[in-house]
């Protein structure tokens, strides 16, 4: 992948536009196109427009891997934006790493990776629950029940949450995982009824999350007595489940549509007014995707400055992304910057409570930016540096996923 002045810069957009994962991912693909249009209208990058190559991963991990190979090897893109679930990220990373390309991964994830071919703009598990758990314990009580989808991210997030829970003096009553995509919560709700927690900490994702909130209310629970504190239930999910099922529950995220600042207003109005804004909401995932486009812009411009247009490689873009800062008038969630070592993002987590009209009211904002720590709960594993995972022994392992 080499660039030439004036010629389009090809990037891949790899999301599931169909299948079970399409719910969050399709919107990410749309907002990505919106961001690219915005950048191109503003003159592109060094005079070159960005040309997105949009492919559908069909919610199938094999297809993610296959499409990633097509993008990198056949279409010769310089970077790829995409993936949502950890599984899809794991599916594409071997290819990305072996071809030394670059993936912009715009959503929350569990961490515990140290790859030299990825830049993440969403919150890590440690950033997510740092504020949420203490807030919930303080306001609702110490007894908590964890419910999650049965895969890595919820489990790792819960490990993180347990640490904050212990700090706050809370008590974990039970931990339940349901199969991904399952919509049968009867037995989980029975267990909750028996445990009588003060609040629920939920890492249920996707369609299951919607079923969970509905059946939660239908089983006679309500948000006043036993709110659900979730890491995933945003504006899209709430609308899909029906606002009455979502109202009163909490979400921790770095971004909410209701954030009151001029950049966000411009983003929301601009996006919803564009041809991509048919869904009518903006969502933390979408905003993180939007930001990733601007991180890319900043990084590639820096790489071009330093190396010249023809010499830019994905690797140089990644190196240039270290420390890239999006100021408050670019990033709708407020200023963020990319960590120089682990290439995750410093951001400000916020807690929102869903209102009767489906919007979120920000009830708490972290006092300062929270550092992304991919190995926060595995201090023995080492620390992530730009060159690779630095083991306690001092040696460095590359490409740790």
């Amino acid at each position: 992948a080499t660039l030439a002045k004036g010629e389009p810069i090809k990037v891949g957009i790899l999301f599931s536009l169909t299948g079970g994962l399409a719910v969050p991912e399709e919107d990410s693909a749309l907002v990505m196109q919106y961001a690219i249009d915005e950048i191109n209208e503003a003159g592109g990058i060094n005079g070159s427009p960005i040309e997105p190559i949009i492919v559908d991963a069909k919610s199938d991990m094999n297809v993610y891997a296959q499409k990633m190979r097509e993008l990198i090897l056949r279409d010769r893109v310089i970077s790829v934006f995409g993936c949502y679930t950890s599984a899809s990220r794991k599916a594409v990373m071997p290819t990305v790493m072996s071809r030394d390309n670059l993936l912009f991964y715009p959503t929350c994830y569990e961490g515990k990776e140290c790859s030299q071919n990825i830049v993440c703009t969403g919150p890590l598990a440690n950033q997510h629950s740092q504020e949420l758990i203490p807030y919930m314990v303080e306001n609702f009580g110490k007894r908590v029940f964890f419910v999650g989808s049965n895969y890595v991210w919820p489990k790792e997030s819960n490990k993180n949450a347990r640490i904050w829970l212990d700090d706050a003096g809370g008590e974990l009553l039970g931990e339940e995982y349901v199969p991904l995509g399952s919509s049968e919560f009867g037995s989980v709700l029975n267990k909750i009824r028996r445990a009588k927690p003060d609040f629920i900490f939920s890492t249920v994702v996707g369609a299951s999350d919607i079923a969970f909130h509905r059946q939660f209310k239908q089983a006679g629970f309500n948000a006043e007595d036993m709110p659900i504190a979730s890491l995933t239930t945003g504006e899209i999910e709430t609308r899909a489940m029906g606002i009455e099922y979502g109202a009163g529950h909490f979400l921790s995220a770095p971004y909410f549509q209701a954030l009151d600042n001029p950049t966000n207003k411009k983003f929301v109005d601009g996006f919803l007014g564009s041809k991509y804004g048919k869904s009518g909401v903006t969502h933390y995932n979408m905003e993180e995707t939007y930001n990733s486009a601007y991180v890319f812009k900043a990084a590639i411009e820096k790489a071009i400055d330093e190396n010249g247009m023809e010499n830019v490689t994905p690797r140089l873009i990644r190196d240039a992304a270290a420390g890239v800062r999006l100021s408050a008038d670019v990033s709708p969630e407020g200023e963020v910057w990319v960590d120089e070592n682990n290439f995750n993002t410093w951001l400000v987590p916020k807690i929102g409570q869903c209102q009767e009209d489906g919007s979120f009211k920000i009830v708490k904002t972290a006092d300062s930016h929270v550092e992304p720590l991919p190995y926060s709960i595995y201090p023995d594993a080492g620390t992530c540096t730009a060159q690779g995972l630095k083991l306690p022994s001092g040696s460095i392992r590359k490409d740790v996923i």
């Binding site: 037995s187 989980v188 029975n190 919607i210 239908q218 899909a240 029906g242 009455e244 869904s279």
Partner: protein
Amino acid sequence: MDYSWAPLMGSLVLGLSIASIWLVAALGLTIIYGTAGVINMAHGEFIMLGAYAAYCAQAYLGTPFLLCLPISFVVVALIGLFFERVLIRYLYHRPLDTLLATWGVSLMLTQGVRMIFGSSPKYVQVPEFLSGNVSLGIMNMSSLRILIVLMTVVLIVGIWYLFYRTYFGIKIRAVTQNREMAASFGVNSERIYMCTFALGAGLAGVAGCLFSALAIVLPTMGSNYVVESFLVVVTGGGPLVGSIAASAMMGEFKSFFSYFFNSTFAQFLLFVLIVIVLRFRPNGLFANTAVRR
């Protein structure tokens, strides 16, 4: 954990609810398979269409939820009828091919719905009294689940009445037993198959309408129900009683396994259990022993 009898009662009741969900999902499949021997892989998509029909009725016409049930029935029955006319009727004597062809149909339906409605989830509103909960001492059940149980009972009684108390039912059963002889006595077997298929599709539509309130309305939602529905029919062996027994068995086992293990592993155990059952009753619990000569 507390293993006293109250939670066990709770899972018994939950098992009943799961059983009724699976049974209502499998009813249409049972009728189509039991009567015409067609394995309808698009059944899950018919369920999905039922949910979308409910969504449309509500979003565009403002129909209240309970009225969506008959609307879903009619709409999906008509769609089923269409596919029966253009495709299935040529394949009645090739059961394995119906399985494949209907799978093709399911692909088309999923994608078609996605192209029309997009892949974002749709929301179906249920009346206030259905989003609550009924508590009977130690037992607890959401009113929606109670509605599903009731609805299942109503549908079963309805089907039973139709099959065993009406002339149409005599015709269906006659065609099922001996198509040629039924035709020799004025029964239009083509039309019976057609009606049965439409009926089965319509029942899937009703199931979809019910599920739209319980879970989520998505183009891909059908795949959540289709494997279980098949297992209900296969384990039951075809007849209605078979499906009732099979779903009761499966629902209770699922609930009990989930009580002792987690839901995922419970699902696995359930599948293994079914393989074992089939090992000993290869044609299902209530199979008709066919005489081959």
